[in-house]
Amino acid sequence: MFSYIGRRASHSILSVIGLLALVFFLTRLTGDPSALYLPLDATAEARAAFARLNGLDQPVHWQFAEYLKDLLQLDFGQSLRQNRSAIEVALQAFPETLKLAFVAITLSTALAILVGSLAAARPGSLFDRIASVASLAGASAPDFWVAIVGILVFAVGLELLPTSGTGSWAHWIMPIFVLMLRPFGLLVQVVRGTMLSALASPYIKTARAKGVRRTKIIFGHALRNSLLPVVTVAGDLATSLVNGAVVVESIFGWPGIGKLMIDAIIQRDFAVVQSTILVTATAIFILNIAIDLLYAFLDPRIRY
């Protein structure tokens, strides 16, 4: 198993470096930061000095080699905007996103398992049809629009919830709800599908014939065997949850990694963009390995 983790980790590190290279060269194409950080009437000498100070006067491939060398020494560069270590900026924002994402994915998975199982228990029933349409609607809804309608109804209209920012628990409700929609919608469909086929299998018939109680058949017997695909999809969704976080954070003013990323790109704060990518990518790769290990835990037939 440890050799498996090692192999996965080395693959992941290669992927992260590839991604960093891609982003490094792309961000260098966006333009000269000195145009943004120095006053308009700065002299050519001042600009040159600024470029030299930040290592921007070197050829791009040389800059990348320097960057990798610094990376090995755990030097992630300075944020131009905030004048402190870029990784510090990224690591400060990351937990905020993580909190949102964790609550959203946990709640939506739990809810989806409940709703999906109940829908699969009585296919074609009213509950099943409502759950199907609701899950489709959740998966189809544009998150930014739901967020805006939420603000319109609950903040502007009813004045129940704050429009944006952080602080009280009330600030959490709308971002979490918006983030949950899509994972919930997709997961309900997955749970329902796998549960339908699990409930049609012979061992369920046996359990029923033995007189096992209905709830125990659904949640004890069928659900355990249909959890595997659910975990796969939930893991994929956790990655795309960062997408949702970008939108949600920029609408609700949540000081997380998504908002930081947008701000850093627009302010040409290269080191921060790089560090955000590094932190996000690392987290995602760790998550993927964790999910693989979770498989082995859920299904004893799987060995690495």
């Binding site: 693959h11 290669l14 992927s15 590839g18 991604l19 891609l22 982003v23 792309l26 961000t27 194409l29 966006t30 296919p123 074609g124 349409v133 489709l136 609607a137 998966a139 189809s140 809804a141 544009p142 998150d143 930014f144 629009w145 739901v146 805006i148 309608v149 603000i151 319109l152 502007v156 990655t239 795309s240 960062v242 997408n243 970008v246 939108v247 920029s250 998504g258 990323m261 947008i262 790109i265 627009i266 963009v273 990518i277 996000t280 990518a281 995602i284 790769f285 993927n288």
Partner: protein
Amino acid sequence: MTILVPDTKSTAAPGTARVLLAYLKRDRLALAAAVFLALFVLAAILGPWLVGDAASQLGLRQRNLAPFSLEQSWLYFLGADTLGRPILARLIVGAQNTLGIAAAAVFSSMLIGGALGLVAGYSERWYSQLILRLADVIMSFPSLLLALIVLYTLGPSIANLVIVLAITRMPVYLRTARAEVLELRERMFVSAARSMGAKPARIILRHIAPLVLPTLVTISAIDFATVILSESALSFLGLGIQPPDFTWGAMVANGRGYLSTAWWIAFWPGLAIMLTTLSLNILSNWARTVADPQQRWRLQTLRKAAR
């Protein structure tokens, strides 16, 4: 020497179409989705020609006109935006951009992803590994973040938007195509072609690609909704389409600042996106049920089950 070819297609085609239509009529939800999508496509094709001028016509008197009033022309039924442009007309014109960008992106990602997948599946050289690694990198990173960086570098424009959307959706086609090729290339007809001296390019294009294509087309139909959502999110964040062009996502962004005074500017275009993607998802769900022999009975007995 004459070869008798049984004329199956002409007898089968109207039959299956009629059966499909009958299935569709029984499922009211799918029928509604199909009708809505037909209207959407119709509006996207004919709309700009019908109401094109009205969508960009400024009207100071109609500024922030509330919806549901019929005092003005019917184009103002859904209200007007801050510059007095009728929202209904803008929705119709925006439909063309939304549909056009999504179609172009889906088509190019299917083309690029399919081609790379064919190569990666058939050949075992180093570049196959490279292609797969590339797909992994793209897939394992949040697409919106990648799209934001690329769009900010290349500059937001329709062409770049299509490229970015195509690249982020490409791995799905690549992996599917590769998986199919891995299975197909071991089949007898491929070894036959190979032993007759066919070149790899010919085998891939003439013998394997036609068999992979139907699967890719199915995926592309499902992918349409995702691409529309991604495009509108990018346009909403301001890195998608740029004025004077607009899509529904950009229209929502425009209305964002006027939520407390004129909710309808942001509300309608978002609803249009939602209804479109919902219809697409409902229809693809329905198509999956129809295509699956084990599930088809649900549609045949749907009426009875509902009561």
